[in-house]
Symmetry: C2
Subunit: 169 residues, 2 copies
Amino acid sequence: MSSPVKEPLCTWRGKVAHDWVDYNGHLRDAYYMVIFSFASDGLMDLIGMDAQGRQTTGHTLYTLETHLSYLLEVKEGADVEVFTHIVGLDAKRLHLCHGLYLQGGAALLAANEQMLINIDSARARSAPFAAQAGERLRALAQPHLALPRPSYAGRSIALAPPKLVTPHG
Amino acid sequence: MSSPVKEPLCTWRGKVAHDWVDYNGHLRDAYYMVIFSFASDGLMDLIGMDAQGRQTTGHTLYTLETHLSYLLEVKEGADVEVFTHIVGLDAKRLHLCHGLYLQGGAALLAANEQMLINIDSARARSAPFAAQAGERLRALAQPHLALPRPSYAGRSIALAPPKLVTPHG
């Protein structure tokens, strides 16, 4: 199964905090999303939409929709990193896939898809990306868009239809 | 657009905490998921899978996959509640839709879909629901399964194809 591309875009590195784990010492489902939210902040920093950039332009990004597939358990204290694949981009929307890994590891721990929209805060309305952010996004996206689309993009959730039990099944 | 059913299953009530909001005082994207995770805990309590029940049976629920649609901003201190619609159930999997509302409010603030699986912790493998949990789930699910499916169930994320600009558009 193809995973989010591991090069070149690492958007977050850190340690699984005590407050993020459940009674079993495993990362609690919602805190995978906290990590992926930090990764989106990391991408914003890379395109000049850090706190200073947001103040200068009055623009920020809102999350419209997100989809998360949990693949492996992650323990308290684990050193993890997120790699990000831009899978779509238009004048004001950004569609990306984050993948969570142990630092230096190859196994995909969780896959997160996000659709983000650029917002002009003063007007509280969506607006095209500011010039610098748009340019940087296009530059980052270009090699990504040529890569195979991550298999976790575009999933929907469903119970499979019941399996037929054959006489010799 | 049809929303998750508001009756009869309230699974969480509480207040948007200071730690959950961003620099604008709005609930941060990942913390919607924290609230929905608490709502899944609330459902577990309702079916006897609280801490004591988990200890007795050795069973717990893992989240396999989740999908969240952000519809409206939520402010620090807001009193909110989650209503839950069971949209699918088999021997060991539970498919549900949570809806977030202001307490007593009609507007859907966010919609979250989850696929959960029953786990036998001792064997660290999936297993059919224990008898009590399975019975309670079937009883809760029966009226829900007869209702219209929430419109947010089964969504996938995609950028719409670019709109054609007509000469008179």
